[in-house]
């Protein structure tokens, strides 16, 4: 394809030749015609490169030293990616003198390893600091290119590296050709977690665990072996008071028994639409999976079994109690699968949605936007130029979507004439390409507050969890409840039931601002619009959090409005209370 630079060189050449011929000016004609011949020669050389060089390129990519089509990555960790481009020997290679030219690449090739939004590029390109590390511009002929870059995985779920985009230009930048070479590598991304020692030193003392499911005691946290004597703390059961020792010391002392019953942790994780909105790593679900994985790590490291109920609009999935390293990894696998964004419910089509899809199509399928292969039929309507441009853009996009999803000709035409149908396919295309659920993929946040339905499904899950529970369980509810606080009464009966059966219930409601909604956090840091908007959002979150905390704490449940370490501390404290058999969480920060 000729670039604007090429066209601007050809135009004066043609005009000069025309005028030179008309006026009989030989030198003007010669100069203009020479320029045109030069352009033609450059076009022939460029076309030769496009036809002969491009199909022979061989590309290899290794991620953390592995080039398999599938693999495993961890959220929040750094990944090292190496891309190597070589040329397969062609028939000209047999001619010795041309081998150096034939078996080499360049010049002026931009090699771009396309990455999804879930990967954050950390390095910059060695060739050009303005380019990101996943791009490399080659400006000389060379037999092979290898470049390395580092990236960070933003969130749990899945990462697919689709392939390499090549941008070929001639030395003068008169001609341009773009190709996308498919090289898909799909990785399951396990959620990040805090190591057990990092969050709370709550490692259980030496213990003889009974086999799973067999309980020697009816009451949780009170074993038969005396561990130590300590001062009485309000909330300790009266039967644990060592009266004789208390009388001797003239102050109340409590017998601390060794716990023989493991604390069972049951995680309830909300994966509804609202928790999946936002950029990867900033979603509420990412905060929840981090807390859930960290709690599971801490619990499993001391031998406590962890179960989970993962629920969203599609229904609930239950994971039975898991222990040991294998169990921990099974839970992480389930969390990773759960973090993958499902198909979206249809959204109204917007021009931004179409333009985003077009730019993504230009990045992933540049060769399918070629006018020779993706033709737009001639129609009289629409008449206005801007409408015609929009029609043309939609037709090109419809062609690509039809090719990608293998639609029929009728469906392809329907894509152009039915906005709802196009919107559904554009959303599918964007989601499959690893685009986060933000505008324009989904509409603004307000549309997703389906409080009633979500609270009902959480309530059902909690009731099921209680019905299956044994003694001494800790229910950890990780859900986006801040926006649901006005309708929290739907959930209260299930919480009351759980608490009434002597289980501990902890709520973790991550904040969209990633900050605990404390009084100090509502102060704007500066007068900039961003800070003021953030402060306003924080004030709103604080109001909702206070209301939610009041309602739930009145029943005796613990609440944390944060998706960070504070939430993990809170859950581990609840586990400690359950383990010790105390009824009141005195001394524990909530």
């Amino acid at each position: 394809m000729m670039t604007a630079r090429g066209r601007w060189m050809a135009l004066p050449g043609l005009v000069g030749l025309f005028l030179g011929v008309l006026r009989g000016q030989a030198e003007l004609s010669l100069l203009s015609l020479s320029v045109l011949v030069w352009l033609a020669a450059e076009w022939i050389l460029f076309s030769w490169r496009v036809w002969c060089e491009l199909p022979r390129l061989q590309i290899e990519r290794t991620v953390n030293g592995r080039s398999d089509a599938t693999g495993l990555l961890w959220a929040g960790r750094t990944v090292t990616i190496i891309v190597r481009v070589t040329v397969k020997p062609g028939f000209i290679s047999k001619l010795g003198s041309f081998r150096a030219l034939s078996d080499s690449i360049g010049p002026v090739v931009l090699i771009h390893d396309v990455v999804p939004e879930n990967l954050e590029i950390l390095s910059t390109s060695l060739g050009d600091r303005q380019l990101k590390g996943n791009q490399f511009e080659l400006r000389a002929r060379t037999p092979s290119v290898t470049f390395t870059y580092t990236a960070r995985v933003r969130a749990a779920g899945q990462v697919t590296l689709p392939g390499i985009r090549l941008r070929l230009r001639d030395a003068q930048e008169f001609f341009l050709a773009e190709r996308f070479i498919k090289l898909p590598q799909t990785f399951r991304v396990l959620p990040a977690y805090a190591e057990a020692g990092d969050v709370q030193p709550l490692v259980k003392r030496t213990n003889s665990l009974p086999r799973h499911g067999i309980h020697r005691l009816q009451r949780s946290g009170l074993g038969s072996e005396l561990l130590e004597l300590r001062e009485y703390v309000p909330g300790d059961p009266p039967k644990a008071i060592a009266w004789k020792v208390s009388a001797r010391r003239d102050k109340l002392m409590t017998r601390q028994y060794e716990s023989e019953v493991p604390v069972r942790v049951q995680l309830f994780i909300d994966g509804s639409m609202s928790t999946r909105l936002g950029g990867f790593g900033c979603r509420l679900l990412d905060q929840m999976t981090y807390v859930a994985a960290s709690v599971a790590r801490a619990a499993i490291s001391v031998g406590d079994p962890v179960g989970a109920i993962l629920f969203d609009e599609r229904g609930a999935r239950r994971l039975s109690s898991l222990t040991g390293e294998r169990g921990f990894y099974r839970l992480l696998d389930a969390l990773a699968d759960f973090s993958i964004n499902p198909a979206l419910s249809p959204q109204p089509l917007s021009p931004r949605m179409v333009s985003t899809a077009m730019s993504l199509a230009g990045e992933r399928y540049p060769e399918l936007l070629d006018r020779r292969v993706n033709q737009v039929p001639f129609t009289l309507w629409p008449l206005f130029p801007w409408s015609r441009r929009r029609f043309r853009q939609q037709f090109l996009l419809a062609g690509i979507l039809a090719e990608v999803f293998q639609l029929s000709a009728a469906q392809q035409v329907r894509l152009v004439h039915d906005p709802g149908f196009l919107s559904a396919h554009v959303q599918r295309f964007l989601t499959q390409s690893g685009v986060a659920w933000m505008e324009p993929v989904v509409a603004v946040r307000d549309g997703w507050a389906l409080e009633g339905a979500r609270l009902d499904s959480l309530s059902d899950a909690l009731v099921k969890g209680v019905s299956r529970a044994r003694d001494n369980e800790v229910f950890v509810v990780l859900a986006d409840l801040l926006d649901c606080s006005p309708g929290i009464s739907h959930l209260l009966p299930a919480v009351k039931m759980a608490l009434g059966r002597h289980h501990r219930v902890a709520f973790v409601c991550p904040s969209p601002t990633f900050q605990r909604p404390t009084a100090s956090s509502t102060e704007p840091q500066s007068d900039s619009p961003e800070d003021l908007v953030a402060a306003a959002e924080q004030i709103r979150a604080r109001g909702l959090a206070i209301r939610l905390q009041r309602e739930l704490r009145r029943l005796g449940a613990a609440v944390s409005c944060s998706g960070e370490k504070e939430a993990i501390h809170l859950v581990l404290s609840e586990m400690e209370i359950a383990r010790s058999g105390r009824m009141s969480p005195a001394g524990v920060r909530r």
Partner: protein, 290 residues
């Protein structure tokens, strides 16, 4: 931030990395300015040959032209030379006069090629004068130099990058282009008579005689090139083309069917949404009458 790194098999890094020669050292700035001065001088000599103007005006014009080229492309230089030739060259019913014209065109084309390829001018034009002066007194970044030079290995086309061979190759290709143009102009001599209205019927016939053959030959060449290029389609492109052709051929019919189906569906939805209210109205009216 970490920087990406590159392995040894890439060839000479000084050739592939623009930053290798983009570093703002004094020597490089001086080299760039010197290079531009030579180019400017050459342009000045060629443009203002036999023109009585003060040197300062000529210099200012050349500097402005170079700045414009740096900001856009080499097109302004071509237009400048074309305008000079347009106004200066006499109307001569003959081909270019010998070696002088040939050399002139080769040099101008060489300048065009050089200014289109070389990024020095673009870099200089994109910088502020203050930065440029500051870079004249900047120290050399020795660490970067050491890092760059330690990685240099065998380039892919080593002989081609050596200056004399590179120069000869480019001169040869330029001369080939000009020779080809000259050949075309010799085959179809221009007379300039169209403007003066002096053409005779016999002369016109003589000019028009090979036109059909030339046009058809050009058409054959274009078709052959296009069809050869067509054979390099990828499978996705081929599939896309077949799909697109089918849709193109049947578009009017399919559009009609799709639109009528959509209308039918919309009508069905509307009736479905009206039905319950109608039923309620019916029940209430029955209750009311009872």
């Amino acid at each position: 931030m970490m920087r990406g790194n590159i392995s040894n098999d890439i060839g000479d890094l000084r050739l592939v990395t623009p930053n290798a020669d983009e570093r703002s050292t004094a020597s490089q700035t001086i080299r760039s300015l010197l290079q531009l001065a030579i180019v400017g001088l050459l342009i000045g000599v060629l443009l203002f040959h036999n023109v009585n103007l003060p040197v300062s005006v000529k210099g200012l014009f050349v500097v402005l032209l170079l700045w414009l080229i740096g900001r856009t492309s080499a097109t302004p230089l071509l237009i400048a030379f074309q305008m000079i030739l347009f106004f200066r060259e006499p109307h001569r019913p003959a081909t270019a006069d010998g070696l002088g014209s040939f050399v002139f065109v080769v040099i101008v084309l060489g300048l065009l090629v050089f200014l289109s390829r070389d990024r020095t001018l673009r870099r200089v034009a994109s910088r502020r004068v203050g930065d440029l002066i500051r870079s004249l007194f900047a120290k050399r970044d020795e660490d970067t130099d050491a890092a760059m030079s330690s990685e240099s290995t065998r380039p892919a086309t080593a002989p081609a990058h050596q200056p004399p061979i590179w120069f000869v190759r480019h001169i040869a290709s330029l001369m080939t282009c000009v020779l080809a143009a000259l050949l075309v102009l010799t085959t179809f001599p221009i007379s300039g008579g169209v403007e003066r209205g002096e053409r005779s019927l016999a002369a016109t016939k003589q000019v028009l005689e090979p036109v059909p053959l030339v046009l058809v030959a050009t058409l054959i060449a274009v078709i052959a090139a296009a069809e050869l290029a067509w054979r390099t389609l990828t499978m996705e492109q081929a599939s896309m083309y077949l799909r697109s052709t089918q849709v193109n051929l049947l578009h009017a019919d399919i559009r009609l069917i799709v639109r009528s189906r959509l209308k039918y569906r919309r009508r069905q939805k509307r009736t479905a949404s009206k039905l319950p209210t109608m039923a309620v109205e019916h029940v209430s009216s029955v209750g009311g009458s009872g």
